[in-house]
């Protein structure tokens, strides 16, 4: 039950339309290369968007034994399947996070900040008095955490023993479906 749904939420918040419009005029690469995506075959995210997702994962997942790049790649895969408008919304969130645009006034791109500075940006958005910023924060955080913690490697942190079908044999009660075609 991830808190990630993004059914046009940016456009549904006060100021959202302006923010989306502002994000839309920022070129995909914005004159800068994003080598973080060089080794990844992306389906829907641009190299910049991938780099932002990866940078957010680096900041949001200290001590979590997953590769931030793998988390960003999982987000790319999910957005490719989920389709619109979740895809466009998350791409917009990532662009806004990188550049700030009307949501905040940062002189440096998110991906060039230190991990500590990225966390400060994320915290600032989380506690913003503007619902749009909180919504964007929750969307990005939700995607990153969900796709990190579904990784079995995180069981070393949670000590979650795994679901029953992996380790317990329980008979399945039979059901007569009356024919299946």
């Amino acid at each position: 039950m991830p808190a990630l749904s993004r059914r046009g939420f940016l456009r549904g918040t006060a100021g959202g339309t302006v923010a989306v419009a502002a994000a839309a005029i920022v070129p995909a690469g914005c004159g800068r290369s994003y080598p973080q995506a060089a080794a990844v075959s992306l389906q829907v995210l641009s190299p910049k968007e991938f780099a932002v997702a990866r940078a957010a994962a680096e900041a949001l997942l200290p001590g979590v034994p997953v590769d931030p790049g793998a988390v960003a790649a999982a987000i790319d895969t999910e957005l490719a399947i989920a389709g619109e408008p979740m895809r466009s919304d998350m791409k917009t969130v990532l662009s806004l996070m990188e550049h700030g645009t009307v949501l905040s006034f940062r002189r440096r791109r998110f991906t060039t900040l230190s991990v500590e500075a990225r966390l400060a940006v994320l915290d600032d958005w989380a506690r913003s008095r503007f619902n749009l910023r909180r919504a964007a924060y929750q969307a990005l955080r939700g995607f990153v955490l969900y796709f990190a913690w579904i990784d079995d490697a995180t069981r070393t942190v949670t000590r979650f023993p795994g679901p029953w079908p992996e380790r317990v044999q329980v008979p399945v009660y039979p059901v007569d479906f009356g024919g299946i075609a």
């Binding site: 059914r7 997942l61 979740m86 009660y173 039979p174």
Partner: protein, 514 residues
Amino acid sequence: MIIQGAGRTDAIRDRADVVVVGTGAGGGTLAAYLAERGWDVVMLEKGGFFRAEEFSQREEDAMADFNGRRGLDSTNDNAVFLNYAEAVGGSTVHYWGDSFRAPSDRLERWRREHGLDWMTESELAPHWGVIEEELGIHITPETLFNENNRLVRTGCETLGIEGHPPPTARIDCVGCGWTQFGCAYNRKTSQLITTIPRVSRAGGRVYSDAAVQRLVTSAGQVTGVEGALLDRGTRAPTGSFRVDAPIVVLAGGALGTAELLLNNVDDDVVGRRLYINPHYFVWADMGRPIDNQTGIPCAYVVHEFRRTRLDERGRYEGGGYIMLTNHQSPAIAAVMLGGTGAASTERMRRYRHLASVMSVIDEDLPGRVFIGRDGIRRTEFNVRGIDQLKAIDYLRNASRIFLAAGAQEVWIPDVYGTVVRSEADIATRITLRSVQPNAQFCAGSHLMGTAPLGTDPSDSFAGPTGEAHRVGGLYVADGAALPGSVSVDPSLTIMGVARWIAAGIHDRHGRAGA
């Protein structure tokens, strides 16, 4: 016969006495009633057909396979996650099995405010009784309690707060903990393994992966439905179908039914009200292993605060919600728990030490469902006004219960990192800012009221019998038909109302095709 439409590229044509759109609590119950009385029934389900052997209990599988919109649906401003299933069996595939009859005060309100004179306990009791027998509904036994349930009960008993084990729909439950990802052992008596097989064995056809897109009408009467067969992975259309029938029953859930009606019927009542019973989640670090991931999610319900209390001047005093004991799988818990960076990771380190409850807020102020300019179904829901006060009252009383049960600290999982360690913290730290939109994870899984029954066509979509005011032969028999919040899990109420509507159809029409 279960007929899987996934991947089919042909154009299916079928004919029946009645078409039921949706296979969940309402659709399954109604269809089984009619099929076993000689009606030729076709059921159409947008989602896929999955059996117990396919339920891996892994979050990513459940989300992708049968959660609506792959578990990515929320309100327009992202503040409320909308939790529903799209699969044969509907939301009963992932529901917790809590099976309450509608409280008498709620039935009284619906009689008084919506003219639904038949909605009495005596009228519904025979239907509920049959359903309870068929689904093996019984009071949750002590053997299914986990430590979380025992802790919440202890906290309530210490404070003199009323709570009870709920009636639950399961037989020989093994307490694996993951019923919300589909019961992997066929012990939860969802529609998937109860009414749907009965429909099939009685000669009905249950089509999966079949999304109804158009209601076919003629001279004010419904005559059938049309739609697309979907690829199960991409949900892209691959084939088509048309089913002709003189009676069409909509039971695709409050969102699905509303979407279909908004795209086909000119009636501004549709989608005007959406009730969701907002869920907020409170977590408590007990400082020792609780292992809340086993057992059943909810074996104890706090009823003390169900009724809203107002003072003599009509001002809110408290209540307006129940609490359910709650547990969540790791990735979903990570999203819910709040915290940024190291704070989030540290909370996950304590995953097995956590106890939890969730709210079922009996909201006064509904949201709405509508079709956006891009043609996509959208929802709006804001927890506001008196409902925010209920949420705060819930957060405070949940904190009290956990402190009384010995919690080291209680977490209100908001963006402010609110932690409660004493009674003094409760009043000062839990404030309205915690329940502003997107300040913490909030969900709605009891979706109701978007095509309600009632006597007034300006305020209801269908009449007391369930038949639409403006389209003959078109019925509603799911959560959309309920006039408002039930204040408890609505599943058994939906089933009872659907069975009552089915009995009416049978009595009035006989077997339509005969």
